[in-house]
Amino acid sequence: MPKDHGIGASSKRREDVRFLTGKGTYTDDMNIAGQTYAVMVRSSVAHGRIVSVGTSAAEGMPGVLAVFTGEDFAAVGGNPAGWLINSRDGTPMREPKRPVLAHGKVRHVGDAYAAVIAETYQQAKDAAQAIADASVIEELPAVVNMAEAVANASNRVHDEIPDNLCFDWGWIEDNRAKVDAAIKSAPHVTTLELVNNRLVPNAMEPRASIGEYFPGTGDYKLTTTSQNPHLTRLLVAAFVMGIPENKLQVVAPDVGGGFGSKIYHYGEEALVLAAAKKLARPVRWTAERSESFLTDAHGRDHVTKIELASDKEGNFIAFRTETLANVGAYLSNFSTATPTFLHGTLMSGPYKVPNVYVNVKTVFTNTAPVDAYRGAGRPEATYSLERVIDKMCRELGLDPFEVRRKNLLTPDQFPYQSPVGLMYDTGNYQATLDKVCEMADVAGFEKRRAASAAKGKLRGMGLSTWIEACGIAPSNLVGVLGSRVGLYDAATVRVNATGNLSVMVGAHSHGQGHETVFAQIVADKLGVPESSVEIVHGDTARIPFGMGSYGSRSLAVCGTAMDKALDKIIAKGKKIAAHMLEAAEGDITFGDGKFSVAGTDKAKTFGEIAFSAYVPHNYPLETLEPGLEETAFYDPANFTYPAGAYICEVEVDEGTGKVDVVAFHCADDFGNIMNPMIVEGQVHGGVGQGIGQALCEFTTYDENGQLLTGSYMDYAMPRAEDVPFYNVDYSCQTPCTHNPLGVKGCGEAGAIGSPPAVVNAVIDALQRGGHTHVTHIDMPVSPSRVWTAMNA
C-alpha cells in the first residue's frame, strides 16, 4: 500500500494551488508604492572601447529620474568568482574585474554600460534607446572562437590577459605521465573529438530585481529571482557594494525556474539597490526575454578530445581528455568550478579504470558569461565518456551493453576511491543497468526495428550509464579544491505555542516542491499532520543562513540540517516531558507524536509539550529553558553519488534526417525517496532538457560576436511534440551512507544521462541503416546535420 502522508508518500504539492489560480508572487508581480523603472543600456557590439556615453540625450526626457554609467561604480568592488583554480604550473587563474556596469570596454553583446531610471517602464525604455543612439563605442575585433582566442594573442578580451586564457588545469597532474604511458602501450586507443553545445538555460521567468532603501534605518531590501538569496546577500554586501550584511535583506519569492542561471549575482541587482538609495524610491528591473538570452549565464560550451585506451576485449585501461571550455567575457560566480571540479572529478564515470587524466583550458571570449547549467560539468564528462565508449565498441566489434557491464564497478568495491579524487560511498550500477534493460525490452528491439523499417524509418537504440557527485558539498573538501565559500546548509525549526511549526530552510525552491517535501519529512519525524508544518524559504531576514539550491543539494544537505534540528526538538521535548510527567529524562521515549514514560501509559502529546514550552508556569528554570525552537547547520562528510542507466530509442527519417525520440527509459539510484511523484517530475524535466540539448538547442554567435540565436524564433526550445512520455524507475536504491535520510539527489540526473543516450541511439540507427561511415555527429543532431552526415 503506498503511503498517503509523510516520507515516501506522493503528497500533492501545496504550492500548486497558488500557482494554478494565478496567486503566485513572482518578483515582477510585486507592486510597490512609489516604484520606478530601470532599463539597461546594452552594447550592440561584442567588443568595443567606450568613447563616450550619451547620457545627455536622456536629460529632460519625460519621466527620467537618473542615469548611471560605469563611472558611477568605478570605485566599488566587482562581482567575484567563487572558486580559485590554479593552473598546472601552480599559477593562480586570471581574474579580471567584473563591474556592475561596463567601464572602459564592453565585452559582449548585451554588456550593460549605462542604466536609466524613470517614472514608467516605457519612459525608461525610450531614454535608454536615446542614450544608446548617442553613445560612441569604437568597435574592436571580437574574440569568439576558442581555438583562435588562444592562438591570436593580439586580440584580447581583457587587455591585461595576453592569451585569453583563464587557466590551464590538469587533473590529476601527478597522473599525467602514468596515463600517457598507459595509452602509449595500450592494445587499442579510440579517439573522439566532440563539442558539448552551448545552451541558454531559459528559465521561463526572466530575471527581475527590485531594490528598496529605507532612509530612516539605512536598510536595503533586494527582491530578486535567485536560487541562492544568502549568497547574493554576501556578494552584494561584502564584495560589490560594501553594504553591511546586516543592513541588506534579500528576498527570493516565487521563482519561475533557475536551472543554474539564477544561482549567480548579476549587476542589475547592485544597480537597483544603488539607484533606490540615490532616489529614495523603489527601483524595479525586469529582463525582456532577449536580454535573458544575451545576459543570463549560458551553459556547457566545451570542445573536447577524448581518448579511451583498452584491450581488444574492451576492458578500459585509460581515459585522457583535452578540453577547451568557454567562460565568456567575465567570470560568473561558479564558472571556474564547473569545467574543473564538477567535470574532471567525474571523468572515471561509474567504471573501474585505473588511469585518468583531464586537461581543461578555460578561455575568455566576447560572449555572455558561461556557468553551471543543470548538471554543470557532469553532463559534459558523461557525454564524452559515453560517446567514446560506443565508438570503441564499434571499432572493436563489441556489444555496448556487455562492455559497460564488465567495466562497471561492482557492489563489493564500495567505498571506492576513484583515480580522479572522489570517494564513491555506495552504488549498484549493475542493478540499474539490468533494470533499464528489462524496462526497455532490449530483447524485443529487433522486432521494433523491423516495424520502424516497414514505415520507412531507421531505428536505433542508445545506452548510457552515468554517475554524478552532487549534494554539494563538504566544505573541507571544496575548500582544498579552491572554493571560497563553505557549502553547508542550515535550518531552524520553530514549534509555535499551539503546536504548529514554522521551518526556516536555507534551500530555495523554484519548482522543486520543497514546501511539500520538507513538510512531509517534518510530519513523519514528529508525528504531526503535514498541514501543520509551514516551510519558509527565500528570505534572508527569516532564515538563519543557507547556501541555496543547485547541484541537487537541497535534501541531501539542507534536508539533513533540518533533520538534525528536528533531533534537537525531540531532545528538548523529552526534557520538557520528563518535567511534566515527573520522570527521568532517560525514561522518556518519543514516537507517534507522543512523549511517553517507557513501560507506563503516561504520555504527553507533541501539542501539549509545545504549549507547555511557551506557558512554563512551573519550569525549573535553572535546568529547563522555555520555548521550543532549534537551529542546526550541517556540513556533509562527502558528496552524494546518484547513478543510473538510460536507454533511448529513436527513429530517423532517411529522407529528411529528422530524429524522433520514440522511447526513453531511465533506471536511477537516488537512494531513499521522499516523494516519488516529485522525483519522477524531476527526472522528466531533466530528460526533457537533455533531449533538447541533443536534438535541437544550439547557441551560436557569428564571427562578429552577434548572438544569432537570441529569441525563441531562433533558439529551438523543446516543445511538447518533440519529446515522448518517459519511462522512469527509481527502485534500485543504495541509500547514501553519510546522511540520515539516505538521500542522494535527483535534480540533475536526467540532464546528465540523457544526451549521450540520444546521440548513441542516432548513430546506432544510422549504422544499422547502412550509413557505416557515420561514427559521430555533434549535438544538436538536427535534421540538417543528420542528413549531411548520411549523405557525406
Binding site: V255, R289, V662
Partner: protein
C-alpha cells in the same frame, strides 16, 4: 491615455492605456491580475495565454485598445464558484503538471481551449495543440497526462509507445 473597458472574469473593468499598451500589461499592471505571465518578447512562449471571447489568445500580442468591450477570461477566473480548483487545475495538481508554475497559467488556458473544441484529445493532439506553450521544468510528460486526465481519460498506464 485612453480609458479602455472590457469584461474580465465576469466583471466589468476599465483602466487607462496608451495606444501601445498590450493586453498582458493591461491585465498585469492596469488590473493587477498578475496570474497572466510574460515569458518572452516574440509571441513564442505562451505564458500569457488568456481567452478573448472564448478563443485562446497570446495577450502579449494584442493591444488592449483592440479588445475594448471584449469578454476576457484569465487564470484568475478558472476556479469553481466556491473557490475550489476547476477540473483542469485539479488535474494539473493531481498529476504534477507544474513545477515552478511560471508556464502554468498559459498551459491551463490553452488546455481549456483545447478541451472546449476537442473534449477527448489523443496524446498526439494534446502535444500538437500545446506547441505554442513552452515549459522548461516538466519535460511536458505530466502536462500532457494532466490534460488527458482532465478530459476524463484513464492515464494510469501512459508511457512511451
Amino acid at each position: 491615455m485612453t480609458k479602455v473597458s472590457m469584461t474580465v472574469n465576469g466583471r466589468a473593468v476599465s483602466a487607462e492605456t496608451e495606444g501601445r499598451t498590450l493586453l498582458s500589461a493591461y491585465l498585469r499592471e492596469g488590473l493587477r491580475l498578475t496570474g497572466t505571465h510574460v515569458g518572452c518578447d516574440t509571441s513564442q512562449c505562451g505564458a500569457c495565454v488568456v481567452h478573448v471571447d472564448g478563443k485562446p489568445v497570446k495577450s502579449c500580442t494584442v493591444f488592449a485598445q483592440d479588445v475594448a468591450g471584449a469578454d476576457v477570461r484569465t487564470i484568475e477566473g478558472m476556479a469553481n464558484a466556491d473557490g475550489s480548483l476547476g477540473v483542469i487545475q485539479q488535474a494539473f495538481q493531481d498529476h504534477h503538471g507544474l513545477q515552478c508554475g511560471f508556464c502554468t497559467p498559459g498551459m491551463v488556458m490553452s488546455a481549456a481551449a483545447l478541451l472546449a473544441e476537442n473534449p477527448k484529445p489523443t496524446e498526439h493532439e494534446v502535444r500538437h495543440y500545446l506547441e505554442g506553450n513552452i515549459c522548461r521544468c516538466t519535460g511536458y510528460h505530466n502536462i500532457v497526462k494532466a490534460v488527458m486526465a482532465a478530459s476524463g481519460q484513464d492515464v494510469s498506464a501512459l508511457a512511451a509507445e
